[in-house]
Amino acid sequence: MDDNKQSPKKIILSDNGKKNILDNLSRTSLSSDQKETLIIDLINILNDERVQSLNKEQELNTFTKDKETLFSRHNELIKTAYGDNKSFSTFNLNNNTVEILAGHLLSQKTVVFSELASVKHEYLMVSNLRPDKYKALDENLIIFNFEMSDLIQKFHQSLREPLANYVKSPFSILNTRAWVTKPGSVNVGPNAQHTDGFAPGHLKLMIYLTPLNDDFGKLSIDNKLLTSASAGACVIFKNSDVLHNGIPGLKYPRICIEITLLRSFINCQQFHDSHPNGKHYFNLSTPYLKNDHLFS
């Protein structure tokens, strides 16, 4: 036995944590026993991730096939409790909220995609593209260096209600970013048809501050064209299951905000800076352990 190898400290669910999860599970049709089993399975998954991280210490902030498997197991638990989601759903923000978000973007600086390649994030995986892809993105999009603030936290919180029916489970908010698509842009990046290739369990929420129409741009999702919508249109969808792409406007810029979510057993706000090129967490346990009054 390797004396230098430490046994990982186990993740423990506090009484508050268990109560929180059970409260969230109360609206499911699971029996008490099933809920108990589910919670045990969840803790096992989180502890398996901890063991993995300790065994491959240098890979703490990398994403591996093993980690993807953990996300997959976690997502199966979520689906057992809360069911699966439809491909996508839509709703609208009111004009006041659109104005508030537009006001926030007015204060934000923009960044150059190609300069983001070397900028890491403490919690989020970051997309790694070829230089020619970055160049194309910079020519066609203007991306904001989106800053978190109390206002945005409040806005995030306000989204839980309209999203509840679609997401069904509690969820963690992982990343918030925003960009402008220039009119007549080529189909590059978010405007080329794609699925996101995220680990299972993630969802994306697109918020369009500009109307969805020919002039300002549209969204193609799951072989359907979303158009004829007013400013404030929102689309929540399974980003790694459903083919989607933005369609640039013919005349005017399209301005959108994108929020990445992870279905989880507790609600967790975005507690860190955004990354303009961020994907999802390296580690499934990140949102759980950040709620250290629930988990330790």
């Binding site: 004009n95 659109v98 104005e99 508030i100 537009a102 006001g103 973007l105 007015l106 203007i142 402008v180 220039k182 009119p183 501050l209 500009t210 400013a231 005017y252 810029p253 301005i255």
Partner: protein, 261 residues
């Protein structure tokens, strides 16, 4: 939605200008006015002010019911600025009160044409000072002012006190009648303005300028614009999908389109 409009205009450089827009930004427009509001360029209109835009970059300059509030030197400067920022052969569109229509209605002894002009909001302050009749209402439409006691109607700060006044120049009624019946609109407005300026308590003018269609066309010519069209219905139809307030006050407005030469 001024934040959203400001954000959009930041990333979609407008090619149209609205001089005297009020506190309402428009998407696709550079709006200028003497108001501090998101999305509107603040500009104190004067004989020296500048519309801070590059020369020969705009497709359209529009102004609606603004010039009648300004004095001649300021208007001359703004027309020069409009000329500067417009690309060659591009369009100036001016909408003003149709003073020919007002004068014709007065001469026809129409008793109702001054209704609905917003004058009812201020006539309380005329009591004991000038009669509330068609002639004084018309005089106020051409040239009106308010005194220090009145406050500031544009800031909605109005003092309902006996000394407050927001009305036409205080003219002898016989002289006023003679002025309106024998003079050009330019002469009328200059005479009214001079008379109003005699009031030592004058704080600010509301309207202080006026022209017949012919007189204003001449002003445009003098500023290197060629008048293209003065047909109200035609102009409204031409621009109704582009200019949000093109129809506002249409029945008592004159419209002129002109081309930069």
């Amino acid at each position: 939605m001024s934040n959203l409009i400001t954000l959009l205009n930041k990333y979609h450089e407008p090619k149209s200008v609205n001089i005297g827009s009020g506190p309402r930004p428009w998407f696709g427009w550079h709006c200028f006015d003497q108001v501090v509001t998101q999305g509107v360029h603040y500009c104190e209109f004067s004989e020296k002010c500048s519309l801070n835009l590059e020369s020969e970059t705009m497709d359209l300059v529009y102004s609606s019911h603004c010039f009648e509030h300004l004095e001649d030197n300021t208007i001359s400067n703004l027309l020069s600025e409009a000329h500067r920022i417009l690309e060659k052969n591009k369009t100036l569109l001016i909408k003003l009160p149709d003073y020919d229509w007002f004068m014709q209605n007065y001469k026809n002894k129409n008793q109702t044409f001054m209704n609905g002009m917003g004058i009812d909001k201020v006539v309380w302050s005329w009591e004991g000072k000038v009669p509330d009749d068609i002639l004084n209402r018309l005089s106020f439409m051409i040239c009106g002012y308010w005194n220090y006691s009145y406050g500031d109607p544009y800031k909605k700060e109005v003092n309902r006190v006996p000394e407050a006044y927001c009305g036409p120049a205080k003219f002898d009624q016989t002289e006023l009648k003679e002025l309106f019946e024998s003079s050009s609109i330019r002469k009328i407005v200059k005479t009214l303005r001079a008379k109003a300026s005699e009031d030592t308590q004058l704080k600010a003018f509301n309207h202080q300028n006026a022209w017949s269609l012919k007189e204003f066309s001449q002003v445009l010519n003098e500023h290197n614009f060629e008048v293209l069209n003065t047909d109200r219905d035609f102009i409204i139809k031409q621009f109704e999908n582009f200019i949000p307030d093109i129809r506002t006050h249409d029945y008592y407005s004159m419209y002129l389109t002109a081309q930069k030469i």
